[in-house]
């Protein structure tokens, strides 16, 4: 009897203590591991397309022109002593901040307009407003280039027909900067529109009703209901758009090639000019990395604000 008890307890113990193979199986079947494996393709993509290129760019930016010697931060020190670089720095910020502001403003206004269109017509307006965003920017910018052609501009032709002035869209510093910002706003505003429209639709109608009952004017409803409810989405879209806009390359490259007099170069186009055209890849990498601290600081503040608000809600 005693022997029989011992045998069954051993069987029980062997079942309770799985073999190494079973342990591995159990481990692989755990929720954490399944989640890990499901994320793995994305992780590989992020490591391959974001993490590795970033650290490779950091590595490159610390080499000499011939890429034969480690020079530490020399390329960065070299750049900060160049007036052309600071001009590019200021232009990039001017371009990004102005373009993002107008994209957000136009997107906000257009979202409200479409939101107030009867539901049957909304789909058409939503579709039409997305057209600039779905056309590849290199292609649409080429179209804009034809409109702004320095000598045979279609826009100037129309202006001339109504007795308007000849505008030097791409040859004058002010107008060239205006043009690249305009095209970026045209291309990027639909993104804001669609995000803001989705956000508007998620605001409970009861809040507006309550505000109306309290005697709030239209502006007060916008100020005290709409804005606070959309604040997170406004912050995040502006952050994302600032990142993308600051890294813009194709619009300036196709429209002005950085001219006239380097006054429309952005970080991306200037990095390309130094790195690829000029054969100084480390310096080009250093230029492109100047965006990183600017964006990192911006991201930290905006995301912290979003997190704090989410915690309060």
């Amino acid at each position: 009897m005693a022997r029989s008890t011992t045998a069954s307890s051993q069987q029980y113990l062997s079942a309770a203590k799985p073999s190494g193979y079973r342990q591995v199986l159990l481990f692989l079947n755990s929720k954490a591991m399944i989640a890990f494996f499901m994320c793995l393709p994305l992780l590989i993509l992020i490591i391959g397309l974001v993490v590795y290129p970033f650290f490779y760019a950091v590595y490159l930016s610390m080499l000499n022109k011939a890429e034969t010697e480690f020079v530490g931060l020399d390329n960065f020190f070299f750049l900060i002593h160049r007036s052309t670089f600071w001009m590019v720095f200021k232009q990039s910020l001017l371009f990004a901040l102005t373009a993002v502001f107008f994209k957000a403003l136009l997107g906000f206004i257009a979202a409200h307009l479409i939101h107030n269109v009867p539901p049957r017509g909304q789909r058409v307006w939503r579709g039409l407003s997305l057209v600039p965003w779905v056309i590849p920017p290199a292609l649409s910018t080429l179209g804009w280039w034809w409109l702004f052609d320095p000598t045979h501009s279609a826009v100037n032709w129309l202006l001339a027909e109504i007795g308007g002035p000849h505008i030097p869209w791409l040859s004058d510093v002010f107008w060239a900067r205006f043009s690249i910002i305009l095209v970026n706003v045209w291309y990027g505003a639909p993104f804001f529109l669609i995000m803001y429209l989705a956000s508007l639709k998620s605001i409970p109608e009861e809040l507006y009703d309550a505000a109306k009952v309290d005697g709030a004017s239209s502006f007060q409803r916008l100020r005290f209901v709409t804005f606070p409810m959309m604040r997170n989405i406004i912050s995040i879209t502006m952050l994302f758009s600032t990142i993308v806009t600051l890294a813009n390359f194709d619009i300036a490259r196709i429209l002005t090639q950085g001219g006239p007099r380097n006054t429309t170069h952005l970080f991306g186009t200037y990095a390309f000019k130094l790195g690829i055209e000029g054969g100084d890849v480390p310096l080009g990498a250093a230029v492109s990395l100047f965006m990183f601290p600017v964006l990192a600081v911006l991201a930290v503040f905006i995301l912290r604000d979003v997190r704090q608000r989410a915690a309060r809600v």
Partner: protein, 448 residues
């Protein structure tokens, strides 16, 4: 230790000698090429020129049992330069690549030495033009051959009727087909006289137009113009010499010239001047014959009035810009023997002549003995329109940035230093001193 050092020295000495011998060894065609070859060539502007090149490569491939593939890569948007940079970095891609102007300097370390081939070709046909050595020979070693396609220069392309009617200059008489009066040209075709003519043509509503921006066409006319005034950004020893009376003279001249040019030139791309002359509005541009070729197709009445001729001379001489294409063999090519054989065959006069004809005379070989092709005399209308394209007088062919050491000159060119300096003065209203100070600061960075 001494023994070890001695062995190492002996080893290095032996391998160096072998390496030198390999470089100095004469070119010997291999008994038979085989395998595969991939060529990344410049996508030609002239319709049909690519087909002839592809046909030649195919013929050679069939005769030598080599599977040859040719990719024609456009220079629009710098796609050829970007591709070259990607291949050099990834160390994979084509075996042979057509590299424009400064790309041999930039990718020098990734290109196979071709001294043996240059030497052999020089024995057959005489030496290359000096520009070829300036661009392709670095530290005493040739890294590329001059490509028989793509290389072009920037003569003036002028309207015969406008010059005769508004400026009183008969360009066909001054730059005739056949014998020319060089003394007359030297006394009459100067930048001072050209400015006078440009002013009259502008008053008549037909200004001279050329781009002043970051594009290659901008470098290719402004660089030689500065050289004509004796202005050098950096001298051959690498000293920054932009701050000179010659530079001030050239900038002063550009202030006057741009006042009679269209204000849009600061935004023109490389096709801006082509469109300007083809539209019939312009009286003169600087360009290879591609503008005329397109005009012949799209605006025959304009083409019939065009004439290619010499650039004006300045106080320091007469210079014309060039944009050469050079053929390099990547050092990661797995079939370097076949690559050399093919390039050697394509560099023969027979093949070069065929390619020049296929381009309607657009391609200029940088080898004086190859300039006897009759295509430049026979093209029309008008008869002999590109007779003076190969350079029949005393123009010196240079690239913008010359005579600076090539790595510095490459930056002068690719960063558009000279046109930007000009635009800062003529468009931005900066003083000459401020613009020169800016250029000095930039140049100091180029030689880092």
């Amino acid at each position: 230790m001494a023994h070890s050092l001695s062995s190492r020295r002996r080893f290095i000495g032996t391998t160096s000698a072998l390496g030198a011998a390999a470089i100095a060894a004469p070119y010997v065609k291999s008994a038979h090429s085989a395998g595969k070859l991939a060529l990344g060539l410049w996508d030609h502007w002239v319709p049909g020129a690519n087909d002839v090149m592809a046909q030649l490569c195919e013929t050679w491939g069939q005769d030598n049992n080599v599977e040859v593939t040719v990719d024609f890569i456009t220079s629009i948007g710098f796609k050829n330069i970007t591709t070259a940079a990607a291949e050099a970095r990834a160390r994979t891609g084509h075996d042979i690549f057509s590299l424009p102007t400064w790309q041999v300097t930039i990718h020098e370390e990734s290109l196979v030495p071709v001294d043996d081939m240059v030497e052999e070709l020089a024995k057959q046909y005489g030496p290359y033009d000096e520009t070829a050595a300036y661009l392709a020979k670095h530290n005493g070693t040739w890294r590329a051959l001059v490509a028989p396609t793509g290389t072009h220069t920037y003569p003036m392309v002028s309207r015969l009727d406008y010059f005769k009617e508004h400026a009183g200059i008969d360009l066909q008489e001054l730059f005739p087909i056949g014998h020319r009066d060089q003394a007359k040209i030297d006394s009459e075709w100067t930048y001072a006289n050209f400015l006078e003519a440009a002013t009259k043509l502008n008053a008549a509503g037909h200004p001279f137009g050329n781009p002043i921006g970051p594009t290659s066409d901008s470098q290719d006319w402004i660089g030689p113009l500065f050289q004509s005034f004796g202005s050098e950004m950096v001298n051959a020893d690498g000293d920054v010499t932009v701050d000179s009376d010659a530079t001030r003279q050239a900038l002063d001249f550009m202030k006057e010239l741009t006042s009679v040019m269209p204000p849009d030139v600061y935004a023109w791309d490389d096709a801006g001047n082509n469109r300007w002359i083809i539209s019939g509005m312009g009286s003169c541009i600087q360009n290879p014959p591609s503008a005329w070729t397109v005009a012949r197709r799209d605006a025959p009445e304009v083409a019939a009035q065009l004439w290619h001729h010499d650039t004006p001379s300045g106080p320091a001489g007469r210079y014309r810009g060039t944009l050469p294409y050079l053929w390099g063999i990547w050092d990661f090519s797995e079939n370097q023997t076949a690559a050399k054989d093919l390039l050697m065959w394509l560099s023969q006069k027979e093949q070069t002549d065929t390619l020049i004809r296929a381009s309607n005379g657009y391609d200029l070989p940088l080898r004086p003995s190859f300039l006897d092709n009759t295509v430049w005399e026979s093209e029309a209308p008008p008869d002999g329109v590109i007779y003076n394209y190969p350079g029949r007088g005393n123009e010196q062919i240079i690239v913008a940035g010359y005579p600076a050491p090539p790595p510095i000159a490459a930056n002068i060119y690719t960063q558009g230093l000279i046109p930007t300096m000009v635009a800062r003065v003529t468009q931005g209203g900066e003083s000459l001193d401020d613009a020169i100070f800016w250029a000095e600061e930039e140049l100091a960075g180029y030689s880092r």
